[in-house]
C-alpha cells in the first residue's frame, strides 16, 4: 500500500491506542492515509524499522541513537524529522534528603544512588553519566540501585522513577535520579513532600523523543506527514485532547543537537553496543 504512511510506536500505556487512533482519523480528514503499528519494546521497533516494516518510528532518545548508530554502520542515513515541544531541553536532577549529610557530589562516595529502569535515559543513563563525568564512577565509587520497571520501554513509564523517589523518602537510599518535572510532580503528589528534599545536582539540558525516518522512506508521504504534524494547533478542539494525552502543545521540527549528553553516557557505559552489533549482523 504505497499511499499509506506507517508509523511504529511503543505501547507503554493503553492510552497510546487512543492517541494514535485519534490521529489516524485526523490525518484521514486531511487526505493522508496514516496507520500505526504497536510494539511492546523499543528494541523490536528499531529492528522492524530497519527491516522496512514501518516508514517512521516514534522513538525514545535511546531508540533514536540505536537507529542512528546501526544506520551509520550499514551505510544508511537516519533523520529526526519532528518532535514535541516538550521533548526539548529537559534536565534531570539528582536529589537527596534535605535533612541529610550530603552536601556535594563527592559526599555520594560510598553511598547508594537510586535510578529508574536500566534503559531510561532521563532517570538512569544521563544522571549516571553526569556523576561519572564528575569523577564518581557508578558501581565503583558508589552503589547503583536500579528500579527496573518495564525495561524495554526506555523509561517511558514513570514507575521506576517514582519507586526510586519513594526509596529516597523511605531512607533506603541516599540519592535518587529523576526528570526535573517529576521532582515537582512528586512534591505535589506527596511522594517527596515539599521541603523534604534538596536537589544536589542538575544535568545539562538534553532532548527526548523524535520521529525517526530512514533513507528509504517514501519522501512525499514523509513530507506530508511532517507538514501536517507541524500544522496541528492547540486551539483546535478536535486535536487538543490528543495533544494533551501525548503531552505536548505543539510539534517542532526535529533536531539532533540535544542528544550529546545521552551519547556520552552510551559511549561510557556501552549500553547499546551488543544490541547494535546484533542488528547490524542481521541486516548486513
Amino acid at each position: 500500500m504505497t499511499n499509506t504512511i506507517l508509523m511504529g510506536a511503543v505501547a507503554y500505556d493503553p492510552k497510546v491506542v487512543t492517541i494514535w487512533e485519534g490521529f489516524v482519523a485526523w490525518f484521514a480528514e486531511r487526505g493522508l492515509d496514516f496507520d500505526f503499528v504497536l510494539y511492546s519494546n523499543y528494541e523490536q521497533q528499531v529492528r522492524s524499522h530497519l527491516a522496512g516494516h514501518v516508514h517512521v518510528a516514534w522513538n525514545s532518545p535511546l531508540a533514536w541513537l540505536q537507529t542512528e548508530r546501526v544506520a551509520q554502520r550499514l551505510g544508511r542515513r537516519a533523520e529526526a524529522i519532528a518532535m514535541r515541544d516538550t521533548d526539548m531541553d529537559l534536565t534531570s536532577v539528582i536529589v537527596v534528603r534535605a535533612d541529610g549529610p550530603i552536601q556535594t557530589l563527592e559526599d555520594l562516595a560510598g553511598r547508594t544512588v537510586a535510578v529508574g529502569a536500566a534503559d531510561s535515559p532521563q532517570a538512569t543513563l544521563i544522571p549516571l553519566e553526569h556523576l561519572a563525568a564528575a569523577g564518581l564512577t557508578p558501581g565503583e565509587r558508589f552503589t547503583v540501585r536500579t528500579f527496573d520497571v518495564l525495561v524495554g520501554k526506555h523509561g517511558d513509564h514513570i514507575g521506576g522513577e517514582r519507586d526510586a523517589a519513594r526509596a529516597l523518602a523511605g531512607g533506603e537510599v541516599d540519592a535518587a535520579c529523576m526528570i526535573d518535572g517529576n521532582h515537582l510532580l512528586f512534591a505535589k503528589e506527596g511522594t517527596l513532600p515539599p521541603g523534604s528534599t534538596r536537589v544536589l545536582a542538575q544535568t545539562s539540558p538534553y532532548d527526548h523523543c523524535n520521529f525517526t525516518v530512514l533513507d528509504d522512506a517514501p519522501a512525499p508521504l514523509v513530507a506530508r506527514f511532517r507538514e501536517l504534524l507541524l500544522s496541528m494547533r492547540y486551539d483546535d478542539p478536535v486535536v487538543r485532547p490528543l495533544l494533551d494525552l501525548e503531552g505536548l502543545k505543539e510539534w517542532r521540527p526535529g533536531r539532533t543537537a540535544g542528544y550529546a549528553p545521552l551519547q556520552a553516557a552510551l559511549e561510557r557505559f556501552g549500553t547499546i553496543d551488543a544490541f547494535v552489533d546484533e542488528v547490524v549482523a542481521r541486516q548486513g
Binding site: D85, T86, M88, D89, L90, T91, V93, I179, D180, G181, H183, L184, A187, K188, P194, G195, R198, V199, Q202, R233, Y234, D235, P237, V238, R240, P241, G247, K249, E250
Partner: protein
C-alpha cells in the same frame, strides 16, 4: 515585568503568581521570575515546558509567554445565561457538548458530549419552575417536628385498621410518584436547571410523605395493610410510560390531582389529629407538583397543539391496559367510607358513603378543570376524566 515569589516554591503553589504575571503580558513577552527557593529555576524550567512557555535560564530566570492557554479558550461558548428571565437565556435545544456545565458558564470546546434524552425546552420548561422551586425549598417541613406524634390517637380498632389500610395505599402510590420524576430527573439536560432542581425536590417531598404515612400507620399497629394487584397494575403503567409529557399528564395532572382531593378528604374526615396533619402537609406539597405538571404541559401544548392528541391517546391506552383490573381495591374504598362515617350506625355509614361519592365527584371535577386548562373542550375533558384509572392515581 517582574514577579517575586519570595520564599514560595513551585511545590507550594508558586506557579499561581507566575501565571498571574503572565496573564498581564501579551504572548511573546517576558516575565522575570525572582525568588529564594533553591529549586525555583529547576521547577520553572519543567513547568514552562509543560505549559508551552519558553524558559530562559538567565539568571535571573525569565518566562516568555506562549499561546497555548489562550488557544484553549478559543472556540469556547457561553451556554445561555444564568437568569432565565433574560431573552435567549434558556436554549431551545442545548447541545450535548454543554454537558453538566452550569447555564451561563463558558464551556471549553472539546468538552465530552453527554446525551440527555430530555434536551428540548418545549418538552420540560415552564417559566414558573424557578418560583415553584423556591416555594418548595421554603416549604420543606421536618417530619419529626411538623407533626405532633404524641397527640392522642385512640381509635376504635376497626377505624384504626381503616386508617392503616389507607396509609398503606398512600405509601404505594407515593412511591410511584417518587420514582416517575426520579427517572425523568436523570434524563433532563442540566441546562434546564430550575426544572432539574424542582423535580429533585419533588422526589424529596415524596420521600417525606412515605415517611410520615409509614409512621402514622405504625403508631398503633405492627403490620401494614393490603397491596392489591390492581393497584400495582395501575401504578406500573405510570412507571412504564417513557414519554415525559405523557407521564406528566397521567401522574401529575390527573393522578396527583386526584390525590390532592383524596388528601383533603382525609384531612376533613380525619379521626385523629395526626392523620389530619399528615394529610394537610402532604396535600400542600402535592399542590405544587400538580402546578408544575400543568404549567409545563400548558406551555408545551401551546407550542405544539398536536400534543393534545397524544395526551388523549395516552389516557385511552392506559384505560384499555387497566380494563381487566379491579380498580380501587375494595378494602381502600371501604376504609374511606368508614373513616368518613366515624361509626357503625347505618346513618353513619350512609354519611360516609355519600362523602366518598362526593370525593369521587370532586376528583372528576378537578380532572376536567385541569384538562380544560390544557386546551381540551368540555366534552373531551369529561370523556377523558371518565377514563382515568379507578385506582385514583
Amino acid at each position: 515585568m517582574d514577579v517575586d515569589l519570595g520564599e514560595l516554591g513551585f511545590d507550594r503553589g508558586g506557579h499561581l503568581l507566575v501565571k498571574r504575571a503572565l496573564h498581564g503580558v501579551p504572548v511573546g513577552r517576558r516575565v522575570v521570575v525572582r525568588g529564594d527557593d533553591p529549586h525555583l529555576p529547576i521547577h520553572l524550567r519543567a513547568w514552562c515546558r509543560a505549559q508551552g512557555h519558553r524558559f530562559h535560564l538567565g539568571p535571573p530566570p525569565t518566562v516568555e509567554r506562549g499561546d497555548a492557554h489562550e488557544g484553549r479558550w478559543r472556540g469556547a461558548e457561553r451556554a445561555g445565561h444564568v437568569d432565565p428571565a433574560r431573552p435567549d437565556a434558556v436554549a431551545e435545544h442545548p447541545p450535548a457538548r454543554w454537558g453538566l456545565a452550569a447555564r451561563g458558564a463558558t464551556v471549553e470546546a472539546g468538552s465530552p458530549p453527554m446525551h440527555f434524552g430530555l434536551d428540548r425546552r418545549v418538552e420540560v420548561w415552564a417559566d414558573e419552575a424557578a418560583a415553584l422551586y423556591a416555594q418548595a425549598v421554603a416549604a420543606q417541613w421536618d417530619p419529626s417536628t411538623a407533626i405532633d406524634w404524641s397527640a392522642a390517637v385512640d381509635l376504635p380498632p376497626e377505624i384504626e385498621d381503616a386508617v392503616v389500610q389507607v396509609m398503606t395505599y398512600l405509601i404505594e402510590n407515593e412511591t410511584a410518584a417518587l420514582l416517575v420524576p426520579a427517572r425523568a430527573l436523570g434524563r433532563i439536560h442540566p441546562h434546564f436547571r430550575e426544572v432539574m432542581q424542582l423535580l429533585a425536590i419533588q422526589v424529596a417531598d415524596e420521600a417525606r410523605h412515605i415517611e410520615v404515612f409509614t409512621r402514622r400507620a405504625t403508631l398503633r399497629r405492627e403490620h401494614l395493610g393490603l397491596s392489591t394487584a390492581g393497584g400495582q397494575a395501575s401504578l406500573k403503567t405510570l412507571l412504564d410510560e417513557p414519554d415525559f409529557a405523557l407521564a406528566s399528564l397521567l401522574l401529575s395532572v390527573l393522578g396527583e390531582g386526584s390525590f390532592l382531593s383524596l388528601l383533603w378528604f382525609l384531612h376533613e374526615h380525619a379521626p385523629d389529629p395526626v392523620t389530619r396533619d399528615v394529610a394537610r402537609l402532604a396535600a400542600q406539597d402535592e399542590a405544587r407538583h400538580v402546578a408544575f405538571g400543568l404549567a409545563h404541559l400548558r406551555r408545551h401544548v401551546q407550542v405544539d397543539p398536536s400534543l393534545r392528541g397524544r395526551l388523549a391517546a395516552a389516557v385511552h391506552q392506559r384505560h384499555q391496559a387497566l380494563a381487566h383490573t379491579a380498580g380501587l381495591n375494595e378494602e381502600v374504598f371501604d376504609s374511606l367510607v368508614l373513616i368518613a362515617a366515624g361509626g357503625w350506625e347505618p346513618r353513619d355509614i350512609l354519611r360516609g358513603w355519600q362523602a366518598v361519592q362526593a370525593l369521587e365527584h370532586d376528583m372528576d371535577q378537578g380532572r376536567r378543570k385541569r384538562l380544560v386548562r390544557l386546551g381540551f373542550d368540555e366534552a373531551q375533558a369529561e370523556a377523558l376524566s371518565e377514563l382515568h384509572t379507578r385506582n385514583f392515581m
